[in-house]
Each structure stands twice: as structure tokens, then as C-alpha cells.
Symmetry: C2
Subunit: 148 residues, 2 copies
């Protein structure tokens, strides 16, 4: 299956939001429409330190993730690449597309000068833990969140 | 003890780097000098989505943390506040300054419109786990890193 990974455009937005909602945890969190997504897309797109990406198969958006490049002071002034909001279309999971997408994301971080790639995944996503372990990520941290 | 929390200036940089190095995990990672830090500081300072902060006691830098505000699509186009590189001067730990600093950071995220504050902490930092649990953070995620 031929999949291309590329920067998202505004035309991809409905498909990306549908992917975010089509998820065990995301279903309760995402509205199916709303101008908030369009405004958020524009802010992401305008930020040189952000890259919203899609996996594209024959013009269909079948996956998405968001990269953020964060300049820090620690580790000798290192840039970190952070991966968020990773989704693959439900009917296409288990075919290696997620692995290709993460490998593309890691390569993109490397070419952006990142010294590290980091992400968190919900404790309940057991499949995701096995997935990131297998791809060579180290489960070294605990992730804390506070909803405001 | 009167402590003010404020945006870092370039004059604070040597003290911030010293705090990053004065840490069980940081000691092996930070050089004591180097132009890389100055260049990194300038990039952080120029980014409207970043806020490098210090805890200031009578003109002395006694703590630091870095905030990043990340616009996302998920959760209805929410902005996340991320806290990184939290340090309190070794001789002043256990006096509640860290708690004040994190509470200030959370309030700053709230005033910036964030829907969530997130951070990760190394699995080995047991004191930090108790600290964030106590401050009302939920340990909901696992944190993965890959060094490039």
C-alpha cells in the first residue's frame, strides 16, 4: 500500500478531525464540526515550530500526527521534537502504516536538528505501548496532566 | 521567603544553566559553559509560544522552568501548556518554592488560554512523582523518548 506523508492543508481538516474523533478516548472529546478547528489549524500552520502532518493514500487522508519542535536550554541547548495526536484510520490499523508514519516523523525531527523525540501515550493504550517499545522508544518517563 | 516568578533575561542565563547542571540527572548532560546556551536562549526568547521563567529571591535566581504553549487540533482545538526543565536550587529544596513555582506556571498557562497543563518526569525521580501528585496533576500517561 503506497502512503505518502506530507504537511496538512486546510482541505485535509475535516478528515483529520474525523480521525481524532474515531478513537476510544477521542470520541468523547471531539465535536464533529466547529469553527474552533479551523482557527486552530491556521495557528498551527502559521507556527514555524509546528508541523501538522497527514498520511495520504491516493488522495485520501488515512492518518495524522502533529510535530512540535521545542528549543530548550537543557542538554546543551537541544531542540526536542514532540509527537502528539497520532491516529491511523480504524479500518487500516495493523498494516504497518503507523510504523511508517512514526519513522517519517522521527526522520523529520532529525532533519530539523532535534536531539530527541518525545511523546506520551495514555496508560490505557496498551497496544500503543507495545508499538512504541518496538519502534525503539524508551519508556523512561511518567506523564502528568492537569485539565484546567 | 519572598520569591518572585518572572520571565528570564539573558543576564539570568549562567544561573539557569548552573541550576540545570546541579541535578542528579542533569550533571552528566550539561556543560558548564558554551555559546550553545546563549543561542538557544535567544531562540526561546524570540518565540511567542515559549516562556523561560525564573524564581527570583532578592535578585538571585533560585529556580527555573520552561513553558511551551502548543496549539493543537484535538480536544476541540485546545492549547496545551507544557512544563519542562523544572529546577530549584539544591540548598532551597523542601521549602515550598517548587510548589509556588508550579502554581505560578499553571496560573500562567490558564491566563494564556490553555485547556491543559502537561509535563513528564523521569521514572527515577520519586520525589517529583509525589510532588506532582500532591499538586493535583493526574499521572495518566507514559512518557517515551528516543535520543537521536
Amino acid at each position: 500500500m503506497r502512503v505518502a506523508f506530507r504537511r496538512a492543508t486546510r482541505n485535509d481538516l475535516p478528515a483529520i478531525v474525523a480521525l481524532l474523533a474515531d478513537d476510544a478516548l477521542g470520541a468523547a472529546r471531539e465535536a464533529s464540526s466547529g469553527g474552533a478547528y479551523a482557527a486552530a489549524f491556521d495557528r498551527i500552520d502559521a507556527d514555524p515550530n509546528q508541523l501538522l502532518a497527514v498520511a495520504d493514500h491516493d488522495g485520501q487522508v488515512i492518518g495524522t500526527l502533529q510535530l512540535t519542535f521545542t528549543q530548550g536550554l537543557s542538554r546543551g541547548g537541544a531542540i526536542r521534537g514532540q509527537i502528539e495526536a497520532v491516529r491511523i484510520a480504524g479500518h487500516l490499523r495493523g498494516q504497518g502504516i503507523g510504523q511508517q508514519m512514526i519513522e517519517w516523523a522521527v526522520a523529520t525531527c532529525r532533519s530539523h536538528g532535534c536531539a530527541m523525540v518525545q511523546l506520551t501515550t495514555d496508560k490505557s493504550r496498551l497496544d500503543a505501548h507495545r508499538f512504541y517499545d518496538r519502534l525503539g522508544f524508551e519508556q523512561s518517563h511518567l506523564g502528568y496532566k492537569m485539565i484546567l
